[in-house]
Symmetry: C2
Subunit: 487 residues, 2 copies
């Protein structure tokens, strides 16, 4: 609630040009909250006024939290002088992110106006492919020679630190410009003034390459509890750093991608509320159509099966088809989700294949046994209580009502009901095991081929499991009906 | 590959007591890598040797990365003196996490031996409920009075900073012990020695309450790009802090929970490879059984429908049931995943209900129209090519082979095939819209009731959509068959 009140206060302060209050707000309210309030102001001249009267030391941060649309509106309304002031207080990675979303003419105006070193940094960042370490990194970091003393290092930080994305990690190089260590700002505080960086630096630092996938980078941050990491080029020279706040966003993005893939929808690029319905539909439709086409195999199989002798003899078997397919799908779905997530977060790699297969086989056996025993009992209850009607018996022995009253629980009915349950439960057993095996092998294979298991493996799983289950169903039903001499 | 070689070098250095190499390893290799190598050493006396010869300043960190089982083995083999040395270099939150996993007798020995202030902190941490801010926080932080000068603050950090979890954020209180601001270590470096903390502190800091859910805390860190946050009690006094490294773990845990719930499996507590098959099965079985029981409604519906006149007249309609149910399920599954994730990451709240419903209705309309048009064409092709066999027509007009050859594409066949496609496509349209609506309302309702939407909403969705789709199918089929005068 208080969030809403605050938002309205901010809007009110801007609209009614309450300068003192506004200055107080910029001092005490986090940037993102101010940015969200600004998004609700239609009149761009009112926003421009804010950027004129409040120091760009504050407004530059707020600007970076605004939506691309609002950023563009503001830049178009800005004079070059306004724009330079804003850019001087912005970080290269924020500017690069903003420019990527803007029309070419707006972007080129920003780059033209930007100070030369910022322009160089931004251009460099814009050249890295999406989702690589390069696209997440920033070029503003502190790099010092290993011979520098602690005293000099602190002095350098005082002078140049404000331009860096972080001063909490200082990167240390040797005379050959090779990265040789990192020093935490706390280490500088704890150390003696006369010590040199090489005496106090951590030599167990971790780096990533500029072309590494951002997901790999996030996994390194998690594994090593990092707050900043050096990005190196092919010659192992540091060219940028990645900080934890950007990694947090990557982690969320990657988790959302895994969830989207598992639910058959292309991940959204903007936030849910900012994505128009038309765009949402485009993210959904292709997947449903692909699955519909893949489902043709299931339709084909069911079409053949329902005409088989055994299914016309015991039509109730058809009623169990959804239960069969759902259970197979659920059993495989559990495993594939664990596999895809495990592969994504590097909990295991295709190298661990035999450990994983052994574990899943054992799990599949326990799961399949338990659920098929349960299913046997449950399906028998369903038939006895008339939840499903074993029709071929009703027409012979009496109406549905008499079954419900126990009137025709004849030996013949009992036998047929038990065999029916046995057929379905046995098929379930096979389907559950099969689907877990496919759910292990499919993602591991896809991962070994360096493709994204989340996108490719999941749709195939359902189709394979459905078709094989139906064929198994037909086989088991035919076998058991002959074996037990039903009809 | 280099990871494996390194691991073997570490094991070799320990087993063969290569002290110089081992010291070098502890200097240059990250703790987690050393811990993983140690896990592979069977003989606990060899591990104990490491803890004796290497300074506990290093080993305490490695210890906190070991598995609960190995930690327990080491503690049991430790003398009290060894244990004290280890504990003196450990953080309260790591000790609390370790103790939680240990048998009572081992835990109480650790607490008995621990220095008094550590014991107090650990006991406090152990009292917070799982998944709350209290359970994630640490009690070792730096709190200073607002009147302290920058010079004195730096001096205090030099003296007491090594005991704190982080010195990068200094928390500032007033004389009444109320939290009034935060100061970054970098601000101290940039500031003039004589300034006071109140002059340079950030007043726009964010706090959480000790009983807040850890997911809420993670959302705050993301929203405000924090690296440390104060945890306050009911009187708004700071009692602990949460740092970004712990939040990263929370984020991963929460993402895994959402994925697990969407795939119908209880989240694992340990890593995948550490979870035995028996435990995995226990996480899987209840869900499958619940879904099997819920599926009974689908079985009931299908059992009634397949005996309806229209389905015996046009048996091919049964073959489309899986396609129908899968498409409805997929369409709703897309929406429910977006809803659950959006609610979890606070992208929107139940307050945004009307915006969300409007967007999803519009999306549903576009999706349903597109896929039902596609389905109409596709299902007609399926019938014309004999992928499915419209049997009632075959028996009248010729065999499957003659259909395939185009021999019996009579007017009658064409009419029946088109009506069949129309029936299925129209049902699909209804099912797709319906399932998206249910997929929006269900999670929002569950969230408004303060329950976890991921766990409750998803299983109900499938059943509701399946049953309603089947009933709709029957209604539409009966209507169209009469309307178009198909036998």
């Amino acid at each position: 609630m208080s969030e809403i009140i605050m938002k309205e206060q901010i809007i009110d302060a801007i609209k009614n040009k309450k300068l003192t209050l506004l200055k107080e707000i910029f001092e005490t309210v986090p940037n993102i909250d101010i940015a969200e309030a600004m998004e609700d102001i239609e009149d761009v001249t009112q926003i421009i006024w804010v950027f004129r009267v409040i120091s760009s030391e504050y407004t530059a941060y707020v600007f970076s939290e605004l939506s691309p649309e609002t950023q563009e509106k503001i830049i178009n309304a800005f004079s070059d002088k306004d724009l330079i002031k804003l850019l001087e207080n912005s970080f290269a990675d924020d500017v690069a992110d903003a420019i990527e979303e803007m029309p070419a003419n707006v972007a080129s105006r920003v780059l033209k106006v930007a100070p030369a070193d910022l322009r160089k940094d931004v251009n460099q960042l814009l050249n890295y492919k999406e989702n690589t370490a390069g696209s997440v990194m920033t070029t503003e970091f502190i790099l010092m020679l290993d011979h520098v003393t602690v005293k000099d290092a602190i002095e350098q930080i005082r002078q140049k630190g404000k331009d860096a994305e972080t001063v909490y990690t200082i990167f240390v190089r040797d005379a050959k410009r090779n990265l040789v260590g990192t020093v935490g700002l706390d280490d500088l505080i704890f150390a003696d003034e006369k010590q040199r960086l090489e005496d106090i630096m951590d030599r167990d630092f971790v780096t990533c390459s500029v072309n590494d996938d951002q997901e790999e980078v996030a996994n390194l941050f998690k594994r090593y509890d990092l707050t900043a990491m050096a990005v190196v080029n092919n010659e192992q020279k540091i060219i940028g750093i990645i900080t934890i706040d950007d990694v947090v966003d990557v982690m969320e993005e990657e988790a959302n991608e895994d969830i989207a893939a598992l639910s058959h929808v292309t991940p959204l690029e903007e936030s849910y509320l900012d994505t128009p319905a038309r765009k949402m539909a485009i993210k959904c439709i292709p997947w449903i159509i692909i699955l519909l086409i893949l489902g043709t195999f299931t339709t084909m199989a069911l079409d053949r099966i329902e005409k088989a002798a055994v299914f016309t003899t015991i039509p109730v078997l058809i009623a169990f088809v959804p239960a069969l397919m759902d259970t197979g799908g659920n059993s495989g779905g559990q495993t594939i989700a664990l596999m895809i997530r495990g592969l994504a977060t590097k909990e295991f790699t295709p190298r661990d294949i035999f450990k994983v297969i052994r574990k899943e086989l054992l799990t599949a056996l326990i799961v399949a046994t338990s659920i098929s025993v349960f299913a046997f009992v449950w399906f028998t209850i369903e038939q006895y209580t008339g939840i499903v009607t074993n029709e071929n018996l009703i027409t012979e022995s009496g109406s549905f009502a008499t079954i419900w009253n126990g009137g025709c629980w004849t030996a013949e009915f009992t036998k047929s009901a038990l065999v029916t349950s046995l057929i379905v439960a046995t098929t379930l057993f096979v389907a559950a095991i099969l689907s877990k095996i496919v759910a292990v092998l499919l993602p591991l294979t896809v991962a070994a081929l360096k493709k994204d298991p989340a996108i490719i493996a999941q749709p195939l799983l359902t189709t394979i499991v459905d078709v094989v289950s139906l064929i198994t169903y037909l086989g088991i039903a035919t076998l058991f009906v002959h074996l037990f001499n039903i009809v």
